[in-house]
């Protein structure tokens, strides 16, 4: 068995907002094709950690290594790094002035310099894949929440990222729409995409996740394989948290 390729490594990451220390000495490793699920109470720092990985926030200190390369805001072209790491947000953040297809082809054309024809072809393929083959020319405002989130996934995939980050992708959705998004994510995981997912959907975590990380007040309290974490948590805080949401 060959050693798996390491996609993300975080070492002793610290992050504050002003006086508020939000992340303490975070260590995290994500290998190729891993699906890592981050869980934890509101305010525990899950979003902040994810946003640091995509450089939407900047760490105070510590190391972030993406695909073997230690990335520093001062010396790296972060736009290039971001293009390798796709991100899906809780509130979709689609571009409302562009059609569904327009949303998907925007970055490949503008950032990668892909030809419009190629971008459209690839964009359509991705939209078909997430089950929106009939919505190319519609504006986002006419989509349901679940459809919007699937467009957002296609849009991120269009940049051909090596890693996908998801920040509570289903928590703004009506319950009946959650399934379609999780299904899309599950397929993606099965195809071998490296993923870091913040979610409260424990069923998904258990079924799709390779590794679960429980955070509390800015620290990683416990981590392990889903069955271990869910069935035999060691820490009291983990037990309390799981009780509160299950």
């Amino acid at each position: 068995m060959t050693k798996p390729r390491e996609m993300i490594r975080v070492e002793k990451l610290n992050k504050s907002f002003g006086d508020l220390h939000v992340l303490y000495d975070i260590d995290l490793k994500v290998n190729e094709s891993d699906v890592v699920v981050l869980i934890g109470a509101s305010g525990s720092g899950k979003s902040t950690l994810l946003r640091c990985l995509n450089f939407l926030e900047f760490k105070d200190d510590g190391k972030i290594v993406i695909e073997g390369e230690q990335v520093e805001a001062a010396t790296h072209d972060l736009n290039k790094v971001r293009a390798k790491v796709g991100m899906v947000f809780q509130h979709f953040n689609l571009f409302p002035h562009k059609t569904v297809l327009g949303n998907v082809i925007e970055a490949p054309i503008q950032v990668k310099g892909m030809s419009k024809k190629e971008a459209v072809k690839e964009g359509k393929r991705l939209l078909d894949k997430v089950g929106l083959g009939d919505k190319y020319d519609i504006y986002p405002s006419r989509l349901s929440g679940g459809q919007k989130q699937r467009v957002a996934i296609a849009r991120a995939l269009a940049m051909q990222p090596d890693i996908m980050l998801f920040d509570e992708p289903t928590s703004a959705l009506d319950p009946e729409l959650v399934g379609e998004v999780l299904e899309t994510m599950k397929e993606l995981g099965e195809e071998g995409m490296t993923m870091v997912v913040v979610t409260h959907e424990m069923g998904f975590a258990r079924e799709v996740g390779d590794w679960v990380v429980y955070m509390n007040e800015g620290r990683i309290v416990e981590e392990g394989q889903p069955d271990h974490i869910f069935d035999h948590p060691k820490e009291e805080r983990t037990k309390a948290f799981l009780n509160s949401i299950l």
């Binding site: 971001r82 947000f89 953040n93 571009f95 002035h97 970055a107 950032v111 504006y139 405002s141 940049m159």
Partner: protein
């Protein structure tokens, strides 16, 4: 009343010339003002202290002095240094004035474009310029349409001050004809009607435009 009607009908050719000038002044100044406004809006959101201060200073000076002072400085005041024809003195004066208000309108609507839009674009690898140009500005402009339309209407009314540097726009026409005939009232009523009609038409047009732009929302 009959007299007023005669004057209203009898003076259409002169008033139409004035109207044409008023419209040219307002449109030209609006276009310049949008450029100025966009420029200072960018300074304000640049997050570079010195540029923000420059923008604040500009806005403060414009908002702190009457428009007529601004126009007179451009036309009479600067004449010894830089000779500006009436039309351009008025247009630039109006634009300089509206520009400050437009800068605030644009800045406001840029900042109202959810932070989320910015983050989505950045997370796709788009740089700040690209994000601004392709994602934020198109939405900001659309959101600014009602306020810009309103500013245009204000500009049309403000252009009446151009008469005081000798331009025979709508108000200038009425003032001249009123003083030459020693009978002001019918001419002022006539010009008021012209303004009311333009403003009405524009208000309707802006509302239409707003609706049309709302299609994709």
């Amino acid at each position: 009343m009959g007299e007023f009607f005669d004057i209203f009908i009898g003076s259409t050719d002169v008033f139409f010339q004035g109207l044409w000038l008023t419209l040219r002044l307002s449109v030209v100044s609006l276009l310049i003002a949008i450029v100025i406004g966009l420029f200072f809006a960018m300074l304000k959101i640049s997050r570079i202290k010195i540029l923000e201060i420059i923008a604040d200073l500009y806005i403060w000076v414009v908002r702190g002095t009457p428009l007529i002072v601004q126009i007179f400085i451009l036309y009479y005041g600067l004449a010894s240094i830089w000779l500006i024809p009436e039309f351009w003195a008025a247009s630039i004066g109006l634009a300089f004035h509206s520009g400050a208000y437009i800068a605030e309108i644009i800045r406001g609507s840029i900042q109202s474009i959810a932070k989320g839009q910015n983050e989505a674009a950045r997370s796709l690898g788009m740089n700040r310029r690209l994000t601004m140009r392709r994602i934020v500005l198109p939405q900001a402009f659309r959101r600014a349409v009602p306020a810009l339309g309103n500013q245009f209407i204000i500009g049309i009314k403000d252009s009446s001050l151009a008469s005081f540097i000798g331009l025979q726009e709508l108000f200038g026409v009425s003032n001249t004809m009123g003083s030459n005939s020693f009978n002001y009232l019918p001419y002022f009523f006539t010009v008021a009607i012209y303004y009311l009609v333009i403003v009405l038409v524009l208000t309707v047009a802006v509302n239409q435009l707003e609706k049309k732009l709302a299609v994709s929302d």
